[in-house]
Amino acid sequence: MTDWLSTIFLHPLEIGGWQCGVLLWPLCLAVSIIYKTTKCGTVREIPLASLILWVTIVVGMYAVGAALLIIYRIAT
């Protein structure tokens, strides 16, 4: 157990390339769940509202990223 915890929390992961883009998903999910937990009137509304917000944020972020990449390619 101690060895496992040491591996997980002491040694950093090796991440690069496309994996950085995928790590956006869980972070956006956390933001959408917490935001909707504070905003929704009842607890039952939270899962669906969080899911919709999560998809909106992820799609929006990728769209902004793609637009900035296109502008960068045109400018350089």
Partner: protein, 152 residues
């Protein structure tokens, strides 16, 4: 509302806010919003410790190098103190020396963003618990038995 009730509610909200800082989600549970508290507790813990798992304890919280992010991370209370305590056990090396415990770009940035966002989300939670009224017994009954039907 009479002044005594108002004072009691303010004291409860303040205690709940303090508890929310110490352990994210605990304030909501204390204030009577058990389900919301458990959701917040789980999500903030997973986000924060996910960030620590990405960057390792040595790199994730850097009070001197990333002061603004450090302030955001400290909003997670006990989680941040636990990481600081673990990081202090690892001896420091010079910047140019390679260390198996230190994360390098872009991993260090991702770890800091994860833990910092967890802290900022807990700030939102603290503000929410300050303004959230305690659940009334009527609401709790309605949830258990469903809506009342009027007799015709």
């Amino acid at each position: 509302m009479d002044p005594t009730t108002s004072k009691t509610n303010a004291a409860t909200a303040s205690t709940a806010a303090l508890l929310s800082w110490v352990l994210p989600g605990a304030g909501h549970i204390y204030a009577g919003h058990k389900a919301r508290g458990i959701i917040i507790l789980a999500v903030i813990a997973v986000t924060f410790w996910g960030g620590v798992a990405i960057g390792g304890v040595k790199t994730t919280i850097q009070p001197k190098e990333r002061r603004a992010w450090f302030m955001a991370q400290m909003c997670t209370g006990a989680h941040a103190f636990a990481v600081l305590s673990l990081a202090n056990r690892i001896p420091n090396k010079e910047r140019w020396e390679y260390s198996e415990y230190v994360a390098y770009a872009p991993v260090d940035d991702i770890a800091v963003v994860y833990t910092g966002v967890a802290g900022l989300l807990n700030l939102l939670v603290i503000l929410d618990v300050l303004g959230r009224p305690a659940p009334s017994p009527q609401t709790a009954d309605a949830k258990r038995t469903g809506p009342r039907r009027e007799k015709t």
